[in-house]
């Protein structure tokens, strides 16, 4: 067994076994963060190739022949093409680079091959940030950078201890940090992608979609992921006002609610004359891959690149790919759209020609009993409140005529059921109505005063148009379970599968979560979404108003130069090391000074010995021997190391001498 474990001479001798080991460490560090995101077969292939290489290094197993390598390359390329459907793009690219790196470990013949591995390693670290930029990952990857840089030193330098190389590498990276900070803060940020991103640039993301059917929002509610964070300039509005408006769904086909033509009609003028107090706030939106933004109802001021649709939804031309920060103003008490175009009102009364007959009949009876649209709305809400409806995250599945089935049979549903059914009733009764999806509420983090809105706060409510007031928000859920508005999902009975985070009660756990979340938010705000806008903000705070890229470059260059000068001064600093002979002689002089006979600076060694002999004859032998040794080594070419050792011995004997006398 020991025989097996003992490393044997292998072909690694060409590059050096230690270097090969370092390069394997590089591959391990650079590839480990990708394992989670690559297809399992690829992980397995990469791991096998790595272990095979390790066995070659450690146990002297035979290496792969050329034919085998070529076969592996062809097979892997085919595998990548099959599992991703293409060879180009982000994910297949990362997969191919992974294979390339691990195969390169089987092709280490020269230092140049080693450099290839190191450069690939750095690139794979960068690629790992495509998948996750969380603080923990960042720490891990910058730690990997120390290892990769140490491997680079090992490739260039003589064999050295692992610890020494890691220390050197960490020291160099530490010295590089000021440059990194300056460049990070001042490098002119270019918004947006430089070239068309491949379709998979941003993976599937959870969030509201442009359609709603029974079950779609309750599904989303199970996710504790953060949708966006908001911070208010002034006081927080009441919680029941925190309706964050998302996609408005007008078209109904009997089962699925979809956005209507009004959602595509962009460019409506903002109602500048909304009455009421304006609330200003900033939203940091997580990328969700859709073009819309979320804002409180009713929005009164927009970011520059956003528009408002005819159904009062805030949208952009492009989808939201990156985390973004926008400022909004809203008037929460306002009701827009009193002078709504008749075409849109007609669309808001549209129903399929047939289906759900019982609901239609109910609507007709409501209509008949009421004098106005407002009374129809009130009667319907009363109905929901009176009948034994249950608000639940796990409603039974519904078949055709879903509205009928829900209203008269199962009577168990989540907000999308209630909103959908309510709007159906309204339309059947001739009242213009539509479904609005978005988020309700949010949680205030007392650490940084951000309101955190999670996917579990996704909500659907209704909007009816009344001639006297315009579009009025009606939340049928509030009729069933008023606490839902005030407390969020925690209002649901404990048997419901509410996400853990949504139910967390006050206490240290909640405080800890707030703290973690605030740290995460700070990281997002200042590191991850450090973009053109944030850069301007920060520079303005430092007194640079609207710097153009020339100014930024000039500043960047001068600060880098300043750091370079500091480093150069450090490099030029002399760290003289006194040679052992001189040190031994100096120590000897010091020890002699204790006997009362210090050596004068101008005194040559032999003169000094002569003086000692005159004044302290008992020390003459030692002093003469030391002086002769020193002079012979310093001026006569005798071996300095031996002389230094002998002088040290004499110094020690001097101590014995002194204690004796």
């Amino acid at each position: 067994m020991m025989q097996l474990l003992r490393p044997r001479a292998t072909k690694d001798e060409a590059l050096g076994r230690a270097r090969v080991a370092w390069l394997m460490a590089v591959a391990a560090c650079a590839l480990a963060p990708h394992a989670e995101y690559l297809p399992p077969w690829l992980d397995a292939v990469a791991l096998l190739l790595f272990i095979w290489r390790l066995a070659q290094w450690h146990l002297g197993w035979p290496g792969a022949s050329r034919a085998v390598k070529i076969l592996v390359v062809i097979a892997c390329c085919a595998g990548v093409a099959l599992s991703f459907g293409r060879l180009f793009g982000r994910e297949p690219g990362v997969a191919l680079l992974t294979l390339l790196l691990v195969l390169k470990l089987h092709e280490l013949r020269s230092v140049r091959d080693g450099h290839t591995v190191v450069l690939l390693g750095y690139f794979m670290l960068l690629a790992a940030f495509l998948d996750s930029q969380e603080p923990a990952i960042a720490v891990l990857l910058f730690g990997s950078m120390v290892v990769i840089t140490a491997a680079l030193i090992a490739l260039t330098g003589p064999p050295a201890a692992v610890g020494a190389l890691l220390r050197r590498s960490a020291f160099m990276l530490l010295q590089a940090t000021p440059f990194m900070l300056v460049l990070f803060v001042l490098f002119p940020r270019v918004p947006g992608p430089l070239w068309g991103l491949p379709v998979d640039a941003h993976g599937a993301r959870s969030g509201l979609s442009d359609s709603m059917e029974p079950g779609s929002i309750s599904q989303l509610s199970l996710s504790g992921e953060i949708a966006f964070r908001a911070r208010f300039d002034g006081a927080l509005p009441a919680r029941r006002e925190l309706y964050w408006r998302g996609p408005v769904l007008t078209d109904f086909d009997g089962r699925v609610w979809r956005q209507g033509a009004s959602a595509r009609q962009v460019g409506r003028a903002l109602p500048g004359s909304l009455e009421g107090t304006r609330t200003a706030y900033e939203i940091t939106l997580e990328p969700h891959g859709k073009p819309w933004l979320f804002a409180l109802e009713s929005v009164a001021a927009l970011p520059a690149d956003a528009r408002i649709t005819d159904d009062w939804q805030v949208v952009r031309r492009d989808v939201v790919r990156d985390r973004r920060r926008d400022r909004f103003e809203s008037v929460t008490s306002a009701r827009p759209g009193r002078d709504e175009w008749s075409g849109w009102l007609k669309a808001a009364r549209q129903l399929p020609a047939s289906g759900n007959p019982r609901a239609r009949a109910l609507a007709q009876s409501l209509r008949d009993q009421a004098d106005s649209d407002a009374e129809v709305v009130a009667a319907a809400l009363h109905l929901f409140r009176r009948e034994p409806y249950v608000y639940t995250l796990t409603p039974p599945l519904l078949g055709s005529d879903a509205v009928d089935q829900f209203m008269f049979e199962t009577r168990r549903g989540f907000c999308e059921h209630y909103a959908g059914a309510f709007v159906f009733l309204m339309r059947a009764a001739g009242v213009p109505a539509r479904v609005v999806t978005g988020y309700l509420g949010g949680e205030l983090n007392p650490v940084d005063n951000f309101i955190v809105v999670r996917q579990s706060e996704a909500h659907a409510w209704a909007e009816v148009w009344l001639a006297e007031e315009g579009w009025r928000r009606v939340d049928p859920t509030a009729a069933i379970l008023p606490e839902r508005v005030e407390r969020g999902l925690a209002a649901l009975p404990s048997s419901e599968p509410v996400p853990f985070a949504a139910r967390l009660d006050a206490g240290w756990l909640r405080a800890l979560r707030h703290r973690l979340d605030a740290a995460n938010n700070a990281w997002n705000q200042w590191v991850l979404s450090y973009d053109q806008q944030k850069q301007r903000e920060l520079l303005a705070r430092m007194g640079m108003q609207q710097p153009d890229w020339q100014t930024l470059t000039a500043w960047m260059a001068s600060l880098c130069a300043a750091f370079a000068i500091v480093l150069t001064l450090w490099a030029l600093r002399r760290q003289r090391r006194e040679d052992p002979l001189a040190r031994a002689w100096r120590t000897f002089g010091k020890r002699m000074a204790r006997t009362g006979l210090p050596r004068e600076d101008w005194e040559g060694p032999l003169d000094y010995a002569a003086r000692v002999a005159r004044q302290r004859p008992e020390l003459a032998g030692i002093a003469d021997a030391a002086a002769t040794l020193y002079a012979a080594a310093r001026y006569g070419g005798a071996d300095a190391a031996t002389a230094a050792r002998d002088i040290r011995t004499l110094t020690a004997s001097l101590r014995r001498h002194r204690t004796r006398t």
Partner: protein
């Protein structure tokens, strides 16, 4: 043009004659090929970071860019304040490599690693120097012709620690190396001590006189083996009787008296071989070259002087 540039560069900071200490004006830095590839890779990584708006990607790229700057200084510092000197070169026979020994002193408390010394025509050598240590590096310079060999400029280069940057400097050894002629391989035996010259040069009876014993060599004539001594102690090694030409029996190695069909260089080669033979035999010998003569003597000093004269014969000094 390039040559002029190189001369100008090399003249910065004064002539690089040894001994010298490498100060900052003598050290040049440029990126290596790996360094250039590294730069290109950084640009590619920067574009990726911009394209995908990867904030940490920016941080990584900027860190690596800073690392390049730091590498420059570390590489520069690896040569800075090195103390260089040369050791007197030992003469060699033409055809053997001349050993140019450069002493490198590291006066500082940090180690120096992977310093490559090279010289035109000599294979490069790599040295590491511990803190406070002095080391020598031996450059093996091939030789072909006898005479003085002036070593070219020594180039000291290092890429340590990252291999991205190359720092280099020059040092010019001042001492020349004496290259002795290469001895003729199949040479005739030493000429006899010449009686004909006796009258001319010294006078005397020409009788050889027994002078001592030394270890037997295969080339010794059997007539000179000390058989009696061997008979007394057969286990002991054979000894050879040595005779000393007294007076007129002097051995003269004379350039002019070699066969007329020998070219001058061949004569030099044969004389060189004879000098070695005579020295090995412990004989006293003199060397006569046209226009100069070396009085007979024996021993290493005589051999070195004779070889030196042969090495430099006919060459401008």
């Amino acid at each position: 043009m390039r040559e002029a540039l190189r001369r100008w560069l090399a003249s910065l900071g004064g002539p690089p004659e040894l001994p010298l200490t490498l100060d900052r004006r003598r050290i040049f830095v440029l990126p290596t090929a790996v360094g250039l590839v590294w730069g290109c890779a950084l640009v590619a990584m920067l574009l990726t970071a911009i394209n995908y708006s990867l904030s940490l990607g920016f941080a990584l790229v900027f860190m690596l860019a800073g690392l390049g700057q730091v590498a420059l200084l570390h590489t520069f510092r690896n040569l800075l304040a090195l103390e260089l000197d040369e050791l007197p070169p030992q003469p060699v026979f033409a055809g053997q490599p001349a050993r140019i020994v450069i002493a490198l002193g590291n006066p500082e408390s940090r180690p120096r690693a992977a310093i490559m010394l090279s010289m035109p025509g000599a294979p490069p050598v790599m040295v590491d120097i511990a803190p406070g240590e002095r080391r020598t590096a031996e450059l093996l310079l091939p030789t072909q012709r006898r005479g003085w060999l002036a070593p070219g400029r020594v180039r000291l280069e290092t890429r340590y620690p990252l291999g991205l940057i190359r720092a280099w400097s020059y040092a010019q050894p001042r001492r020349r190396c004496l290259v002795w002629p290469s001895p003729e391989v199949r040479r005739p035996a030493l000429p006899p001590a010449d009686a004909g010259l006796v009258g001319d040069r010294a006078g005397g009876d020409g009788l050889d006189e027994f002078f001592g014993l030394r270890d037997h060599r295969a080339a010794d004539s059997p007539r000179h083996v000390a058989w009696k001594a061997w008979a007394r102690a057969p286990d002991a090694p054979l000894l050879t009787k040595q005779f000393e030409g007294r007076g007129g029996g002097e051995l003269w190695l004379d350039f002019e008296r070699l066969p007329a069909d020998l070219a001058p260089e061949q004569r030099i080669a044969r004389l060189t071989g004879w000098v070695l033979d005579a020295d090995v035999a412990g004989l006293q010998y003199g060397l006569a070259l046209p226009g100069q003569g070396l009085a007979p003597a024996a021993g290493p000093a005589q051999r070195d002087e004779a070889l030196r004269r042969l090495a430099l014969y006919g060459l401008p000094s």
